[in-house]
């Protein structure tokens, strides 16, 4: 009889533990659902923002705005030079040169 009573107690305890475990899983499940829903909503929101950004930064609009507001023109070939066209700085240890000599030493 004692064994049966003890078994019933164990079953009751296990049942209670199972019940609380289930409640906890349900809660976690709800949290997961909420998070998933939030992620979906944020992702969708992100899509909208990206599309809006793409619309506002479309090259046709930027070109139109830059032409009307900045008076920008296409860069002309004379203004594009190779990096080697920039005069090199003289080494600090090299002796001072007069202006003419300095020009001769500029590396193009």
């Amino acid at each position: 009889m004692r064994f049966v009573l003890f078994s019933c107690l164990i079953v009751a305890l296990l049942g209670s533990w199972l019940y609380f475990a289930k409640l906890s899983v349900d809660e976690q499940y709800r949290t997961l659902m909420r998070l998933e829903s939030e992620i979906k909503s944020q992702t969708e929101h992100n899509y909208v923002l990206q599309a809006e950004w793409a619309y506002l930064t479309r090259p046709e609009r930027l070109l139109r705005l830059s032409n009307s507001l900045l008076q920008n023109n296409a860069i002309t070939p004379e203004r594009i030079l190779p990096i080697t066209a920039i005069p090199m700085r003289r080494a600090a240890s090299s002796p001072a040169l007069n202006t003419e000599a300095g020009v001769e030493n500029v590396v193009y």
Binding site: L5, L9, V11, A12, R30, Y47, Q50, P59
Partner: protein, 533 residues
């Protein structure tokens, strides 16, 4: 005692095993993915899917349509009270009232609490760049299924949620489209088209066809606007084919740079005369034939090449079968059934064979570039992706062809002087083709085109532009030829796109640049120069 414990235990287990509201939850349905995004080569969004709310009615749940229509009318755009009432009294359980409900209106409608009026979340395909590259991107139907362009050809990939990156650069697309649009307006033309090709990779950097359409409002566009003239339309290309004729002649050894041909006599063919726009007396060399765009000279060259050889080369250059471009709108070329000597003559200057602009661009890229044919692609290549190249022309032939193309632009007797963008060594060829009218040619209706490569010493990009039926203007002294209509647009495009593409101005006097072109050639009795004049 036993009964109490048994009851508690049994109840606990029963509660633990019972179903609760959360038991029916399932993870978000991953199988229904949002359609993938279409991006340009720099990651700009060309097509995307965004959430929308669809406002709909279930007429069975509406008891007073008059009242509901009156309440809804101020909140539903494009529908007045009467049209709403007729929709609300329709048979069926689903009547769509609006597809693009703004969040503000959505909230206002919910606040009304009208029975039978519901909102269902859905998605819609949007095209932030509007009409830019519309023909390439294509469109989807109401169920977000691709019906044209990349949307259709890559439908499976996009539908599974994966993105597609195109080789198109929207920035360059805008420049090309604007330049073309300007010439169409200036010359009161019907339309036009243009393509920019990366010669080294075969990637289509830009492709535009005008008139075009806004894929966000597809139903409002006309059939003409939806027609892709770059890939779907096949046309007789006219004199730009002379580049191929010259390249084949050099490659096969039919002629060399020192040979000359008498172009003083028109050639009678099937009751017609093959003539030159600017007749020349006497004999001229291969380079001068191209630079002056002599039809007579080209026809004579074709006879030295022979029809069979010419046809073989056309096949190798992908001109006899549809382009392999990853788009559904690929035109089928119209090829002569019998490739006779007369056919060879007309094909030599771009008549008797109709191909798409993209086919012509790829073929000329082989002749005027490095000699390799590379199948065009609209999808961006990854940096390490191997490129399938077929050598059609030797390096020597390619060098000669690009030198002659440069002279078309740089020499004063050339037909494409207006295309010269100083510093960028533009090479090119003009083409003016009469349109077909009632089984004949309409001399007053031309399709003018210009094919350009730059920089000529090491061509990296090819531009092909075409304007449909331009009308001569006062400012062009009533000329409506390719040299007047398209060449200036080429110059504008090159000037604007070269810095973006990283093409630096070239000093042709430097040996490392000039060695990639032929030594100076004699033209019109003088030594021709490659530098801008």
């Amino acid at each position: 005692m036993f009964l109490v414990f048994a009851a508690i235990g049994g109840q606990s287990i029963s509660l633990a095993l019972s179903k609760t509201e959360t038991s029916d939850y399932s993870y978000a349905d991953d199988t229904q993915k949002d359609r993938g995004t279409i991006l340009d080569r720099k990651g700009r969004i060309l097509a995307s899917t965004v959430p929308i709310n669809i406002l709909y009615a279930d007429p069975k749940h509406i008891f007073n349509p008059e009242e509901v229509a009156e309440a809804l009318a101020p909140l539903v755009p494009n529908l007045d009270k009467d049209s709403l009432k007729s929709l609300l009294t329709k048979k069926g359980r689903f009547v769509e009232l609006n597809r693009k409900l703004t969040p503000k209106r959505h909230a206002a409608i919910l606040q009304l609490g009208l029975p039978g009026i519901y909102v269902r979340p859905s998605t819609i395909r949007i095209y932030p760049q509007g009409a830019e590259a519309a023909h390439i991107i294509g469109a989807v139907d109401r169920d977000n299924k691709g019906i044209a362009g990349i949307e259709k050809s890559q439908d499976e990939k996009l539908a599974s949620g994966r993105n597609v990156t195109l080789s198109i650069d929207t920035g360059l697309q805008t420049i090309l489209r604007n330049a073309l649009k300007m010439q169409i307006t200036k010359f009161e033309a019907l339309g036009g088209a243009g393509v920019i090709l990366d010669i080294k990779t075969g990637e289509v950097i830009s492709a535009t066809s005008l008139p075009d359409f806004d894929p966000n409002h597809l139903m409002m566009s006309t059939d003409t606007a939806r027609f892709n003239q770059v890939t779907k339309g096949v046309y007789e290309m006219g004199s730009i084919f002379k580049v191929l004729n010259t390249a084949i002649a050099l490659e096969t050894g039919a002629l060399n740079m020192q040979d000359s041909i008498d172009v003083s006599q028109p050639i009678p063919v099937a009751g017609q005369l093959i003539n030159d726009y600017h007749p020349v007396k006497g004999s001229i060399g291969l380079a001068e034939i191209l630079v002056r765009s002599s039809n007579i000279g080209s026809a004579h060259i074709s006879q030295k090449i022979g029809p069979k050889t010419q046809k073989d080369y056309m096949e190798q250059l992908g001109l006899l079968s549809p382009s392999p471009l990853e788009i559904v709108e690929n035109g089928v070329p119209i090829v002569p059934e019998n490739w006779s000597n007369i056919t060879a003559m007309t094909v030599s200057y771009g008549y008797g064979i109709s191909v798409s602009m993209i086919q012509a661009a790829s073929a000329i890229a082989a002749a005027g570039g490095d000699g390799y044919y590379i199948a065009p692609t609209i999808l961006k290549r990854s940096p390490n992706q191997p490129i399938e190249k077929t050598r059609i022309f030797s390096t020597q032939t390619a060098k000669a062809v690009r030198s002659m193309m440069r002279l078309v632009v740089s020499d004063k007797i050339g037909t494409g002087n207006f295309a010269d963008a100083p510093g960028y060594l533009v090479g090119g060829k003009t083409g003016t083709a009469e349109k077909i009218l009632n089984k004949g040619f309409n001399r007053k209706a031309n399709r003018v085109s210009f094919v350009a490569t730059f920089p000529a010493n090491d061509p990296a990009y090819l531009i092909l532009m075409m304007v449909d039926e331009p009308v001569g203007q006062k400012h062009s002294y009533n000329y409506a030829t390719a040299g007047w209509v398209v060449a200036p647009a080429i110059r504008d495009v090159v000037t604007q796109i070269a810095p973006i593409l990283g093409v630096h101005p070239i000093d042709i006097t430097k040996p490392e640049n000039s060695q990639n072109l032929l030594p100076p050639i004699m033209l019109d009795g003088k030594e021709a120069v490659y530098a801008s004049f």
